[in-house]
């Protein structure tokens, strides 16, 4: 051990129930050497050289937060779209200000064009509303902003796209082009409008290439990595590895971002099963083994992912009786459950952890039936089969999940953001109030984590907000407590974003708590979540994260 660094703090919560608190943590070579007090760790400090880094003196240190279910690369690509809509709107990176008029939009576009780095890449914006922002844009107007940077502006209801002359060139149309939906001035010149499907498809292609093309996945990772870090996250998992651009390109983007120091997280790539089977067939297990060997503590592969249900906010999940409020709103996808045991068997037998998406209680039943069939056929301990999302469920399902040895990774954010809405729209009051039954899972003895699914569903990425939701279960009106018996303690909720989330990713031997020998990942907070008013949990400031002993600030 060449050099120890000691971080003193006002309070350290280790999430190790045996030694729960401390006031200093010592790290070396990326790992934790000791946690306790300056006095308690003297046996180490007498033997090895050390520094005291007191940048976190007065702060509160927790294990680094883990969000075990995100889609950073996929969602980050969209964040390159600038917003020029008429209303203020929440976005993952903060409030986007609405622009009141066409002049304000043109002004904004002018500013964006002036700082646009690469003039061969289109400048993309969305949200323009001709109804409330004084009428349509057109080519000549946009040419005045820039006749060199391609400008692409998509309307709020995106069936019209506006382009300037360089963008028309990039799209590959000129005044002689024919095609439905190409707008023209009275003199026959193209006016820069692309209206309806065929035309917008044409206009979107070069933009899709620049948003999703080579290099953009890497930019997305950097952008979303910064968002996650700001929320205190040090480890996450991508739950649809391979789906967008294929396994190797997506892996390589993360590897490059980590190598160049622009992605301050650990990440586990969880392959999307249908794509894995299509891409590798009989070689799929060998492929995963080779990636595991190639991976390390920063980037690795883990488990396999199934999507067997719809989503909560789009009301496409599958529910048991009495079902949806309005019978015909039960618009759900068809899952070939007949094949599920067969599809999961190779992974189950090989010890590859299964993560299976289930939002509705009907799907939870089908998932548990499948798990029971796998257990009956080939019994396993500690398999960590995880139901992902677990939005609508029953106490009996929690017990059965625990009995079968399964885990849950739960999206808790909907309790606050959407449960009241769905009480009279879709799911009815009983199921809506009881969205995300964490209390039932706890009583059943099941281990669970909290996740954001960021941002395939429109919820923020913030473990402290997830903890706030789990502890308070306050609806969107800010007052009503949704199914009070499903609330859990601050300690249990914090476990669900640290050590229990590590358990779901099968890394609780190395991550998720502050114990000697573990990787030195910390989240540093302004206030102590065990001390503040529970309603103030979401307002605690994240000061910094520490990854492998190094501050990421």
């Amino acid at each position: 051990m060449e050099q120890i660094t000691v971080y003193p703090a006002a309070r350290i919560h280790t999430m190790d129930p045996g030694r729960p608190h401390g006031s200093a943590v010592a790290v070396a070579d990326g790992r934790i050497v000791s946690v306790g007090s300056m006095e308690s760790m003297q046996p180490w400090l007498r033997r090895y050289p050390y520094d005291v880094d007191d940048r976190y003196a007065g702060k509160v240190i927790l294990p680094g937060f883990i969000d075990p279910h995100t889609h950073l690369r996929l969602s980050g690509t969209y964040m390159g779209l600038h917003y020029v809509g008429p209303i203020d709107s929440a976005s993952p990176t903060g409030i986007r200000k609405g622009l009141p008029s066409r002049d304000a939009v043109l002004h904004q576009l002018r500013a964006l064009a002036a700082e646009h780095a690469n003039p061969s890449e289109p400048l993309t914006a969305w949200g323009y509303d001709p109804a409330s922002q004084d009428g349509h844009l057109d080519r000549d107007m946009l040419d005045e902003i820039s006749d060199t940077v391609p400008l692409w502006v998509c309307a709020y209801a995106p069936h019209i796209v506006y382009a300037n002359s360089p963008m028309l060139e990039l799209i590959g149309v000129d005044d002689d082009s024919i095609g439905h939906g190409l707008g023209r001035y009275a003199d026959g010149r193209l006016n820069g409008w692309f209206v309806e499907t065929e035309a917008t498809a044409r206009a979107n292609r070069p933009v899709a290439a620049s948003i999703f093309g080579p290099g953009t996945g890497r930019a997305a990772i950097d952008r979303m990595g910064a968002v996650a870090r700001a929320a205190g996250v040090t480890t996450t998992a991508d739950l649809v590895w391979g789906m967008a651009d294929g396994f190797e390109p997506e892996w390589d983007d993360h590897a490059a971002a980590i190598a160049e120091g622009t992605f301050p997280l650990r990440i586990f790539m969880i392959p999307f099963e249908p794509k894995l089977v299509r891409s590798y067939g009989a070689e799929m297990l060998d492929f995963l083994a080779s990636k595991r060997a190639e991976g390390d503590d920063r980037l690795n592969t883990h488990g396999v992912k199934y999507v067997n249900d719809g989503s909560y906010p789009s009301m496409t999940l599958v529910m048991n009786s009495p079902g949806y409020l309005d019978e015909d709103t039960a618009h759900t996808g068809e899952v070939p459950w007949e094949d599920m045991v067969e599809r999961m068997r190779p992974f189950w037998r090989a010890g590859v952890q299964i993560h299976s998406h289930a939002n509705g209680d009907r799907t939870v039943d089908m998932t548990l039936d499948t798990l029971a069939a796998l257990q009956a056929e080939h019994p396993r301990f500690d398999h960590r089969f995880t139901i992902e999302h677990y939005c609508i469920s029953t106490p009996a399902q929690a017990k059965r999940l625990a009995a079968l040895g399964g885990l849950a990774s739960v999206n808790i954010y909907f309790v606050h953001f959407r449960a009241q809405l769905h009480a009279d729209h879709g799911f009815g009051p009983d199921r809506s109030e009881a969205t995300a039954r964490l209390g039932s899972l706890e009583r059943a003895g099941a281990t669970f984590a909290l996740h954001s699914d960021f941002n395939l569903v429109v919820t923020p990425l913030s473990p402290l907000l997830a903890v706030w939701c789990a502890v308070n279960r306050v609806g969107a009106d800010g007052e009503r407590v949704m199914a009070p018996g499903e609330r859990i303690s601050v300690d249990r909720a914090l476990r669900a974003v640290t050590i229990d989330a590590a358990h779901v990713l099968a890394r609780d031997d190395r991550l998720g708590s502050i114990e000697a020998g573990k990787l030195a990942d910390f989240t540093v907070l302004d206030d102590d979540p065990y001390e503040v008013d529970p309603m103030a949990l979401r307002d605690i400031g994240v000061v910094d994260t520490v990854l492998g002993g190094e501050p990421t600030s």
Binding site: G183, A201, T329
Partner: protein, 358 residues
Amino acid sequence: MNAETDSGGAGPLRAQPRGTDEFDAAWQATVGSIAAARRQPGDGGADAVGVTVLTGFLGSGKTTVLRRLLAEPAGLRIAAVVNDVGPVNIDAAAIEGLQVASRTPGRVELTNGCACCALVDDLAETLEGLAGARMSDAIVVEASGVADPATLALAAEGAAGCMLDGVVAVVDAQQLAAQLSDPRVGFAVRRQIDVAHLVVLSKVDQVDSAEVADLTDRLGQLAPGRMVIPAMHGRIDPWLLLGAALRGATLPAEAGEHPFEVASAVVTPARPWEVAAVARWFESAPLSLLRAKGWFSSPDGSCHEVQAVGRSWRIVPATGVHDPAVVLICSSQAAVEGAVASLVNLDELTSGQRRPSG
């Protein structure tokens, strides 16, 4: 269209109340549309399989439309891609005189060559699989009630071996007014109507004729230029839903119980037509034009296929040799006669003369 008059397909300018849900939906639609455009376009050539996107809010009656289409496919082999095979209730179709030829999880095939398969994965890949199998003359995608139809249409447009034949929105005559005023679903319904090439007004037998006229006006305001076709019992003539039904230059002359007068005519070009002139004609075609399909030669001797649905049209190089002929379908006999009279003018444009009018 013309920027100065703000006419054309861009929709009326109107301010609407906005909420978080609507914002979420707009954002999802935007990113979905861009994501769908990632694929390289299909060849879009004349041998591509036409894909009709059938959209409509939950309970609008689109499943009934689809079931009728599978039961009475006008001799076409139609592949229906649905979220869930169950509600299409293909056994009920079988009762109507058809037999189920085979049944596998997520797929049912009928003895008339039609099939119904569940969408379990990526839409574009499903479409490419169906197009590659060459077992279908047309594909119909039933959009889930909350799916963004533009995103599905773009996926169809980008799938290899496929081309978008049209977006058809089924609107419930009994529910439309209530849906439009509901802030939670109004956006989705308006968007379906906005995106559609043809709007089918279902359940017109459940409301009186004055109400039908009112609704038609209302739809006309929401989406100027969109043709509205009333339908009862889910019955729609296949050639309105599927361009593939217009393969020949003749049409079944079946009035049936359709309350809507549909009229067709064939125009036979007397000489080659300029592609740009044909494009101009379709861009400003009569609003009563429901569908068109046919072939024409251009002055350089090449053969082109043209097809139109509602306000949308496309012209592609034809595969094989076809006698020049264009079928027009309009909402009334008078309208189709007017369209024919206007289209035959293209004969004169190439020789530098205009057919004398009147």
